[in-house]
Symmetry: C2
Subunit: 285 residues, 2 copies
């Protein structure tokens, strides 16, 4: 079955977008078919993988307004096996526009379900011909009944409104990137409350991973916070820590993933390590 | 007249809270009376100045719900002349609870106006006796007609919803902290659009300062982004740059401002320099 993971933390600037893009790319490099969904109106993820949001017409915004199905918004990236549903600044309006729609939190979930299990004839949902050419790419079921992607990673904005609720209702798991700074544990209660509230609508949702991000172990602050995070979350905290690495901050300005920008960097190593851990392929060390 | 400044940027983790607290403290150290208003449900600002949000009953949340006036929620901090209206996790619910209230964006503005210009008898607004003891502290007009504070700094969450709109309607100026990283300029269009939209309700609102934050000039990325930011905003960018300084990240874990935690650090120097620039007291260099 497809693993649908919402990457979220309402604390801002903790590495949500960076984790979505580079974990997604690392999973694709290991042969998985991965879809990234950008649910943040800032569209940082879309730009990170080389899109130009102001030029796009089919995005998560038009999807949420019901203008088309998911298949029409899926775009390839320069990484084989990695696809994206981009967003645009206008998505900020979806929050208000959907305010009076019944079941407004379920729009993304329904769109994903329809796309992941395409119509029996082997075409895309709604019978639209698939745009990706020859390879059995994301969106095309190469064997009847096989879902269209192995992983879906959803990048969330730094807030707990309708956009994040859509992600939580669509996901089976939550991945929480956490910065090793003092405010890290502050907002966590709000997130756990939101996850619990959504479990009424989405019974199986669980917090599956807490990923220490932007870690600089030279500072006592980072070490103290790491101890607290491990004390609070126990085994949910990944063995992998993402180290602070300027290459990770440079890659988005070139529209590349860390593997496209500098595959030998610490950032590339750490995200590949995280992918191995997510797949249960981490060598026992 | 009191300068009311909304500190905002929907990009997360760029130093909004750190700027509010430490610029506020630096202005108070220069003899100004300063009120900090925490409009972020994460309540990072409140914790930064030593409050315990879960224990508080009078916050921006109960204020927005009309339970009391501003005066009842104002608390002193350990810095003379610096006061705070704290927030609490529950503030996240205000967004939904106010959704159908007419004029929901004007609640903070009306509360501030009533408090800044207290009733003629020299008591607090609504005649309530002032809680701060002998000194003509914030909240008490020491001379008839003098406003209760010289500066009000409003910390905003990383989103452009009702809470941020309240801040924009109440403020005369916007201070935009900007990180010297690639995504810095991405969300700016959204902010300028919001400021313009609010000018219908609040004619005098203007973007008065763009403050480069968390600057590490050793990286080419920071220097490139700084050039772009100065190119885009021109003179609105402050001369003062806030350098990356781990002391700034340590201070909140001790409930202190940077001046209480390490007054000789780069962080303390930079925020004092910024305060001088805000007051027009920067020596010409
Ligand atoms: N491990 C890292 N080392 C160095 N820089 C990093 C790292 N991870 C992310 N960054 C940089 O830090 C900034 C914040 O990261 P990012 O934008 O991914 O966070 P976010 O949680 O998605 O932010 P927002 O809350 O605004 O959505 C970006 O400029 C990014 O390039
Ligand atoms: N100049 C600086 N040098 C080093 N660390 C800093 C600096 N300014 C802020 N920090 C740290 O970086 C993190 C982000 O800063 P802060 O919380 O003030 O940003 P914010 O914009 O308020 O975030 P949010 O979007 O979540 O409200 C915090 O852990 C803070 O302590
Ligand atoms: Mg992001
Ligand atoms: Mg903040």
């Amino acid at each position: 079955a497809t693993r649908i993971i919402a990457v979220l933390n309402q604390k801002g600037g903790v590495g949500k977008t960076t984790t979505c893009v580079n974990l997604g790319a690392a999973l694709a490099r290991r042969g998985r078919r991965v879809l990234l969904v950008d649910m943040d109106p800032q569209a940082n993820l879309s730009v990170h993988v080389g899109m130009e949001p102001h030029k796009l017409t089919k995005t998560t915004y038009s999807l949420l307004l019901g203008k088309h199905g998911l298949a029409e918004a899926v775009q390839p990236t320069d990484t084989p096996g990695l696809f994206v549903v981009p967003s645009t600044l206008g998505l900020a309006n979806a929050e208000i526009q959907l305010a009076s729609t019944v079941g407004r939190e379920l729009v993304l979930r329904e769109a994903l379900e329809e796309w992941l299990h395409p119509a029996p004839e082997g075409q895309g949902p709604g019978g639209a011909p698939l745009p990706f050419g020859q390879t059995p790419a994301v969106g095309e079921a190469d064997a009847p009944g096989r879902p269209s992607a192995d992983f879906v990673l959803i990048d969330c904005p730094p807030s707990l409104g309708t956009l994040t609720m859509n992600a939580l209702c669509a996901a089976g798991e939550v991945l929480l990137p956490i910065q090793t700074e003092f405010f890290a544990l502050q907002g966590v209660a709000g997130i756990l409350e939101s996850v619990k509230a959504v479990q009424r609508l989405n019974r199986g949702l669980r917090l599956s991973m807490v990923v220490p991000s932007m870690v600089d172990r030279r500072t006592t602050l980072a070490r103290d916070v790491l101890d607290e995070v491990r004390g609070y979350f126990g085994d949910v905290v990944t063995k992998t820590e993402i180290r602070k690495n300027v290459k990770l901050a440079e890659a988005p300005s070139h529209g590349r993933t860390i593997f496209g920008w500098d595959a030998r960097s610490n950032g590339a190593e750490d995200y590949d390590h995280l992918a191995a851990e997510v797949l249960g392929e981490l060598e026992q060390t």
